[in-house]
């Protein structure tokens, strides 16, 4: 007890932390690669995916947490399954056909459901999944079933579905499918989009009785 301790000098703190699996934030991109996207829109979308990856890698936590899957249409195809940014290598997208938007949404929702099941089985905590549809056109298939699935999923807080219209998109149909107001994208501002995402998430699924949860206003990346 006689030992004098200089508290100014002591190494206060702990470098020993619980070793938990990083919580995951699943994100599905449903990307329109129909004929009308040929040329500049698709180039910008390809560029956007690269920027998206780069932006995720710029953030220590997003790098570990965000898992991206990409579905292209049409025809509907799983372009890449859930990967963290480090392992996400978006292949160059090419225009392939028509716009089976309904089928693409169905696949996106199934992907999310399967992913959540896997998280639960492995004791991994997770954030509310986000499904982001980016299109410049109108569906060429029946989208009623997809619409119902989106609305049921949103009601059950199973995921958040966002429809983003690129120049030329049929915003009326997007409005019909999406519970949330579809947004008209200004460029492909994924960085702003994901800053907005993380800030909004904490209250996404929390609702006081009779009061609607409000998301933060989108910042800069939308024309709305």
């Amino acid at each position: 007890m006689d030992d004098y301790i200089s508290f100014e000098q002591i190494p206060f703190g702990s470098n020993s932390f619980a070793d938990n699996p990083e919580p995951r934030c699943p994100c599905v991109l449903l990307l329109d690669t129909s004929g009308s996207m040929a040329g500049k829109p698709l180039n910008e979308l390809n560029e956007g995916l690269k920027i998206f990856k780069k932006e995720l890698l710029n953030d220590a936590l997003a790098t570990k947490r965000v898992e991206v899957a990409v579905v292209t249409f049409g025809p509907v195809s799983l372009h890449s399954d859930f990967q963290t940014a480090k392992d996400f290598y978006p292949r160059e997208l090419n225009t392939t056909g028509d716009t089976p938007l309904g089928e693409a949404i169905e696949m996106g929702i199934e992907l999310v459901n399967k992913r959540k099941k896997l998280y639960k089985e492995n004791g991994i905590a997770y954030y509310k999944p986000w499904i982001i549809l980016i299109t410049d056109g109108s569906p060429t298939d029946a989208y009623e079933k997809a619409k119902t699935m989106v609305q049921t999923g949103e009601n059950d807080k199973a995921f958040a579905f966002f429809a983003i219209g690129v120049e030329g998109a049929n915003m009326e149909i997007l409005k019909d499918i999406s519970v949330r107001q579809p947004l008209k994208l200004k460029g492909l501002m994924f960085r702003e989009f994901f800053l907005w995402l993380s800030a909004s998430m904490k209250m996404v699924s929390v609702k006081a009785p009779g009061i609607n949860t409000t998301l933060l206003p989108p910042t800069g990346w939308t024309e709305l």
Binding site: A18, N20, V206
Partner: protein, 254 residues
Amino acid sequence: MIWKAIGKSVIGTSHIQNNKLCEDALVYTEVIHQNESIFIAIASDGAGSALFANQAAELIVNRGTKILIDWILNDLPINEAAILALAEILYDELAQEADNCQVPLNEFSSTFLGAVLYKSAAIFFQIGDGVIIRDDGIGGYAAIWWPQNGEYINTTSFLIEDKQFPNLKISLIHEQINEIAILTDGLQMLTLNTETLTVHQPFFTSLFKWLRLAIEVDDVLILNEKLSDYLSSEAINDRTDDDKTLLLATRISN
């Protein structure tokens, strides 16, 4: 004074990036009544996207503590009924603030967790995430409750959610508590083992070690500043971008 305590709420990197205020708040104090020294601590974590998260958290900790002190000095027992009454008062005051600001009540969403520690009894209370940790009497630490997040890790309950308070947990314990820690969810993943549902012991033992050794008031003040630095350090910020609160209190052996 029979308690030594240090505690800080520190802003997270994501809040700095988004030009937000620190939305965690913490108040702790000791009150002497009838020769008994009673330790009070309340923490609150404002919801990320609530417009008045900072104000809500500040109101909860400041008003909450003040009301508890008043009640203790007026001989009111701080029991389950008192904590429920406290939650009701805080709910009404938050609702009044929301009304004044003409915003929906959920813009004042914030968690509520704390403790009142007597000589041979203690009461703990909590709405939402975060965790209160106590010494287990055999050299280790245990959580009073395991934090309850919803399906999603970033969802939880808030004080303003329901005036019936279905999510309010209260625990009255008739034993002497010698050490407690309170932390908000910014530190949960760093300090709790989610697989085994256990407290990560080394984290707490290495911090409490110094607090126990501090004898002079000045030493405790130095530790408190060091706690601030630690909570803003790279070691912490590499693992969480959220605001974080940590309170450590240890009873001076008698």
